[in-house]
Symmetry: C2
Subunit: 455 residues, 2 copies
């Protein structure tokens, strides 16, 4: 958890950016699963966690133009018996460095002022924010009045402070343990969910959870497949995209792809080496001042060059990347911001990911790029090129026309035992270059072949 | 998963009960965790799962007075690439036995009719139901217009059919594996979340999840504690309330309490034996025709008798139970309905748990009893007496007055190494008596002492 000093520092910086403009930051409330009392594990809004450090259910933090105050709902009768005694206001004040007041006093603190806010992730809290502020607040919408608050939080959260980096390291460490456990647990005849269980157990044993729904599948060509019921066969590649979320809410996000048998086939090895080389080049390009879209382009060009040398694509690698032909095999972006959210601050749309004046491209592939900023020290990003033999793409007549004869389908068909490969690491931009936070996770062909099936 | 024949049968029965009255059953939509694209694992509404068998995101099932039709939202662009190709309408029709239509045709099917519905568990779907039906639908509220639909579903879901019982057995089997793994993984010096991870991994390995947030804690005196960060010490009892949810959505719900060291202390053994005896008597009382509140009373009286013999309470056991003195140490109900929900149909308030004309008592303890029906064959209930040394109760002046000198506090203090014990099993009411679905889980002192610390 961040120390009170770190929280004080974050709030002081936010106060300087906001000046006299008041703001309200809601933690959100637990979401019912099948009925009101049976809830999903509570996850507070990332903006709230950033400023107040603790997942306080239903809490709202108010900046009144000079100081931050935490407003808390009253404990319900029976709370001490059923859920344990909540921390006292004094304890919370000591832990967060904020004055703590009962919820009943919140309305008076807002009265007659134009208060900026950001929508909580849950609709119930958004409706409460709407009632309190007298205007419509909806998840994912940022009102004009709220833009300065959004921009201020983005400017803080884009460049991670020491407490944030410490949390990202914790997440990376647990994520490493999960991937090693997943490789060790892999066997032909097991189902993918057995591997997923072994990976997630490593997180749970540390009191952590997943930062996003795990993808553990022999069908890596489905980019975000949540199905893990398939039985693993000897010739399969298993794609595992699994990341830890620390107790304070910070994310890891790593993908590895490994052979179920413990040995890559020659075709699998060829494409794996190609993705690995593209990732190596993309990581090497991460440095302050680099425009992230160019990291994406570099990865696409590296993939194109490799695909040409394998005879799968024909033509000039740079043109193949620019024209979107590579995107038929690499249809997503090379990565995104990482922080308290796995796609950090995606609740604010593209406002965090895209620098002012920049917009998403409409071209297939590039349109899925979530980040286009000039990199700054303290930013954390993922670097995750991939190659996929996706029927959803390859059987699409429009996309097929785009490729024309630049895609050699009969050659590609020889790689049918690949389906999907993605290699993803978490990278911190430093003053002079980069640090791969997840560098300890087996990645080379040798490291992976050694790690699979040991369990 | 239930077969199409079972689903057909359930829908035919519901149709007979509804007659010409139309109804709409919503599956609900995934709930965002920290932003829209990062969602909690989807869990469809239990009423929808009961009738249609599959967790179809955003689907609505409509009964038009003669037949059931499934309305499905259109796949979004990119769905095949990102999430996998959804089943075709033909495949869904074959799996569910219903005609399948696109969502766009739903409005016309409702126009001008007074359509009953039940609120989906998520607010977003409730707002959608409100728009469609032109009246306010809110989670947990049952409108007058909707009462016949609620009553019809309750009458079906109260008595489980063969497909439901098969699912409850699957849940019990996985829950047994989880509890055995938890006992085996217990060691002094480990944290409670390590034990919880071992238990939940058994469910995940079967492609299952938990039916409710697991309670794994050395502080069993907090009835629903979700904290598992405490380090386990040799003298602690560990209370684990963990149940599986099958892939089709059916719940298990079991509590065991075991010594971290593998050996009960004499005081722990005395109180454990007492709870076990109360549970034995309560289970024996489960039989068709028995009023469930009397099962609760019997458990309370058995606990009272044991507490008197240990010198912790003074007086007549029946009076101690009736006056609520036992409730100071056993403050919750002896159990509840079990089915697709762990508290089955609690989304309908007490309508399912309390027979018409019966209401919850206001007396402390009895007020937490979630079920008061005459038992029928096919009902599944939990039986879960417990004993707790809860500061939240024992330090409450009002409750202390109630006990007067009937509670021997200095004698009770000698049992300070207990904190909380609960023993809970899942019991199916049969034609002639009962079957304990979770009978395979270690429960006697000997069975438990053998199972702990083996891992």
């Amino acid at each position: 958890m961040p120390s009170q000093a770190h929280l004080d520092d974050r709030r002081a910086k936010l106060a300087r950016l906001l000046g006299a403009r008041p703001a309200l930051i809601a933690a959100g409330v637990p979401r019912p699963r099948n009925y009101a009392a049976n809830q999903y594990p509570f996850r507070a809004s990332s903006h709230f966690l950033y400023l107040f450090g603790m997942p306080l259910r239903g809490a709202m933090g108010v900046y009144d133009g000079s100081a931050f105050t935490l407003y808390l709902p009253d404990p319900h009768p029976g709370q001490a018996l059923w859920e344990g005694a909540p921390p006292t206001p004094q304890q919370l004040a000591a832990a967060t460095g904020c004055e703590v007041r009962p919820f009943a006093r919140l309305a008076a603190s807002l009265r007659g002022r134009a208060v900026a806010t950001l929508p909580a992730p849950d609709l119930e809290t958004c409706l409460e924010q709407s009632r309190m502020l007298g205007r419509e607040i909806r998840p994912g919408n940022v009102d004009v009045l709220d833009v300065p608050l959004a921009e201020a939080l983005i400017s803080l959260r884009l460049q991670h402070d020491a407490a944030a980096v410490a949390e990202l390291r914790l997440a990376a460490e647990a994520t490493e343990a999960a991937h090693r456990a997943g490789m060790a647990a892999t066997r032909a005849g097991r189902r993918a969910w057995t591997v997923r269980a072994a990976m997630e157990a490593e997180l749970a044993e540390r009191g952590m959870t997943t930062a996003y729904p795990s993808i553990v599948t022999p069908h890596g060509e489905i980019l975000h497949s949540e199905r893990s019921d398939q039985e693993l066969a000897d010739g399969d590649l298993l794609l595992a995209d699994v990341g830890a979320e620390t107790r304070a809410g910070w994310a890891g996000d790593v993908t590895r792809t490994w052979p179920v048998s413990g040995r890559f086939s020659p075709t699998q090895r060829d494409l794996y080496a190609l993705v690995l080389e593209a990732q190596r080049q993309a990581i090497a390009a991460v440095t302050p001042g680099t425009r992230y879209r160019n990291v994406h382009r570099l990865a696409a060009q590296a993939l194109a060059a490799g695909l040409v040398s394998l005879g799968i694509l024909r033509g000039d690698p740079i043109a193949l990347a620019e024209d979107g032909v590579v995107a038929l095999l690499f249809p997503h972006g090379v990565g995104h911001l990482l922080g308290l959210d796995v796609h950090d601050m995606e609740d604010l749309g593209d406002r965090a990911g895209y620098a002012p004046g920049r917009q998403r491209a409409t071209q297939f592939g590039l349109s899925a790029l979530r980040l286009d900023r000039d990199l700054l020290p303290g930013m954390a990003v993922t670097i995750e090129p991939g190659l996929y033999l996706s029927p959803a793409i390859l059987d699409d007549p429009g996309l097929a026309r785009l490729a024309g004869d630049r895609l050699n389908r009969s050659r590609l068909a020889q790689f049918h035992d690949v389906r999907g490969i993605r290699i993803e690491d978490d990278v911190l931009v430093t003053e002079t270059g980069r640090e791969v936070l997840t560098a300890g996770i087996p990645k080379s062909v040798d490291e992976i072949e050694t790690a699979v099936g040991l369990g």
